[in-house]
């Protein structure tokens, strides 16, 4: 049986990444079989997510583990000429470089595009800086949180009519970046396979985030006004939104569009009397009388669990769901059915499960995933097996502080 874990077998990628988006992009390539070699250094070059470690063990950071599954670890001091030379030699034996440092950091180390291409003319270089390689704000430091604000996502992610923006506590642009980047990486690998050409790609994370708001920009451009936050409103459905359920801070979502769905919804609620009421009979009428419908729906959902609401309505072909929290996700029978969670019985932070991702390939097995290698754990084998150095040379470079 074929395995999803080996689709990219034989592809080698050097990863200069830190934080969330860049490392996770590397993880998603490693998960499907690429040999992703993450380069770090104790001389000021550790992944920033290692700072979330409790205690002194830099491998004991949950965030770091989540974002670097299956990745090999090479420690090299890039402030030494030998360190830089080793990376050039590794580039000559690799297919691609993945990078999410601020612009020109690698250039200053002598590992810019020019040097990498000299080492390997066919290499693919994928950079994913926050604001892009070029432009007046390219040097800006940004987190996904800030990019959400900049592109308009924060402004629009709100209930209507609020006095101030809210947006999200999270870092949505990081999520966009970390799935867009491996997509571009494999596209570039395919192009090289089909044409022989290795390309350089600049994927500004701010633009990847903005790519997700194209309809809103079109509305602003074509209609010369808006858009404004819509929250849980959908102008084409009623009821539509979040409704309170039994339990503290428990909610369900409902979305009723067609007349048939409305009829089923009324019957499930035991309110057949409302199905043909003139003020609710058409979709347009239901949208006009949204407030009254919301009240009726909430009255019914309030005394039921969100799970019961979902089950009863979905069985009647009405769209409904549980607003699931972390506990619900871990116990979700549908996700379990998809073998969604990779289980780790032991790790530097204890045992846990975490999501594999959205894809299944029919007829192919999903093998277990592996933890990130411990910091520097693969340094010697990479120098020996890929670059061909002997034990004495490696030992000498260790002593000189080049391999840490």
């Amino acid at each position: 049986m074929l395995s999803t874990n080996r689709i990219l077998e034989g592809v080698r990628i050097i990863s200069f990444t830190t934080g969330y988006a860049g490392p996770f992009a590397g993880r998603l390539l490693a998960q499907f079989g690429a040999d992703v070699i993450k380069v770090e250094s104790l001389h000021g070059g550790l992944d920033s997510f290692r700072h979330f470690a409790k205690g002194k063990d830099v491998d004991a950071a949950p965030r770091f583990i989540e974002c670097n599954l299956g990745v090999r670890s090479l420690t090299v001091n890039l402030k030494t000429p030998v360190g830089v030379q080793l990376i050039k030699e590794l580039a000559a034996r690799s297919d691609a470089v993945l990078e999410n440092f601020r612009p020109r950091v690698l250039e200053r180390l002598g590992l810019g595009e020019k040097e990498l291409r000299e080492a390997n003319p066919g290499i693919i270089i994928l950079k994913m800086p926050g604001m892009g390689e070029k432009g007046p704000k390219s040097k800006y430091g940004t987190w996904g949180f800030n990019l959400n604000s900049f592109c308009g996502m924060t402004y629009l992610w709100n209930h209507p009519g609020q006095s101030r923006p809210v947006g999200s506590q999270g870092v949505y642009p990081d999520h966009v970046g970390f799935i867009m980047a491996p997509t571009l990486m494999v596209a570039a690998l395919l192009r090289r396979r089909l044409t022989g050409e290795g390309v350089s790609i600049d994927m500004a994370q701010v633009e990847a985030a903005a790519y997700m708001l194209g309809v809103s920009y079109l509305e602003a451009a074509v209609n010369q006004s808006g858009p404004e936050p819509a929250g849980n409103l959908d102008p084409t459905a009623s009821p539509h939104g979040c409704y309170p359920c039994e339990g503290k801070d428990r909610w369900c979502v409902l979305s009723v569009r067609t007349d048939e769905e409305w009829r089923s919804f009324c019957l499930v609620m035991g309110r057949g009397d409302l199905a043909d009421a003139p003020r609710f009979r058409s979709r347009q009428a239901r949208c006009q009388n949204r407030e009254e419908i919301d009240k009726i729906a909430a009255e019914w959902t309030r005394s039921r669990t969100a799970g019961e609401v979902m089950k009863k309505l979905q069985e009647a072909r009405v769209a409904a769901g549980v607003v699931q929290n972390g506990n619900d996700l871990i116990n979700d029978p549908q996700l379990r059915h998809r073998n969604y969670f990779a289980r780790f019985a032991s790790s530097p932070v204890g045992s846990f499960e975490l999501p594999r991702g959205a894809l299944r390939f029919n007829g192919m097995a999903d093998e277990p995933l592996s933890l990130p290698a411990r910091l520097g754990a693969n340094t010697d084998e990479i120098l020996r097996d890929i670059l061909g150095y002997d034990e004495d040379t490696i030992a000498k470079w260790h002593e000189e502080g080049i391999l840490s």
């Binding site: 709100n158 799935i179 903005a210 769901g321 299944r360």
Partner: protein, 400 residues
Amino acid sequence: MGASSPRLLSGLRVLDISNAMGAFCGKLLCDLGMDVTKVEPPSGDPLRREPPFASGHAHREGSLRFAYLNAGKRGITLDLTRPAGQELFLNLVERSDVVLESLEPGYLDKVNLGYDVLAKRQPKIVLASLTGFGQSGPYRDFLAPDIVTTAMGGLLYISGDPSFPPCMPPETQSYYYASIYTAYGVMLALWQRESKGIGVHIDASVQASIALHEHIAFTYSLEGRIMRRAGSQHQHVAPANLFPCEDGTISIFVSEPHWSSFLEVWKEHPPELEDPRWTSNAERRAHADWLNPLVASFTSSFAKEELSLLLQEHGIPGLPVNRPDEFMRDPHIQDRGFFGPVTHPALGSYQQAGVPFTVNGDRPEPLPAPTLGQHNSEVYGSELGLNEQDIQVLAAEGVI
């Protein structure tokens, strides 16, 4: 394919029979340079009837949602429920590399166009199926509008101000997000096809694409902790929030490396904040309710762009909260040429969001969406070799 072409995968062909759920995937494949043909029922893709509309009026060519999500695709009409339509479709499949669909699970089997049927005609075909919950399992047949998949994926629960109900992100983010994920699946499948000479059926789930966001499931598994709504306050860092300015709002994110610089910029900070204990993210986050109003009194005397520049000069991540039109006018975004002009036969000329990457410094130009059936004669005539009369008969019978 020219050596300098920014269209990465030109020459590869996609048949896109997806609906609102998967349309963005087809768009991305298009932006990767593939030749994507959108197949609509003769009455038009239901997405054409979805708001927002140009000038606010419903019109078959006026849906801005359709216009963006199908930008750059070719458009043909075809009735897949009729045998003549199915045969035409299989002829097109023979000439394609990828079929993209987001119909209800089992629908393609019902119209005799399941993976096995497609693979019989084109053994190396990649069939990408995107659905709310997946091709099998207890929730397989659940209806899955964007609000349901966002809720079931866990993102909705942690979104918004805790004094309000959970709040949906704008547009149909869960569909878009899952669409990018599906495109990644297509890339992997094409890579496998090049290495092993086989096609595959991809089973992508919107719910599963969202359920890996924001460490929600992982945090519960590892710590037994349920993440909750927190407005715009980041989980682990403070000040990492939105703050008021004279003319709007700014987002500031000050983690450990930036704390001392932040105190330099914030000249009138309370002296006790210089105590080294405040360097720790955890310490500042634990006192965010005390710290945030103090920071707000500092930020509120600046204009948002002015403060952003000042912070960035000190290396501190701070960016204004923009409306979409403000983002479009931002000098940096203008300089990078992210938006580009598009001319559409019904909508006129306008600026459209472009492709979010450059290839060797070049960016593929944004293109308009097809009008209904715009490429029928090109595809059925020039490519499948039907003559004018055949095409007229098919049209008269309502097949195309």
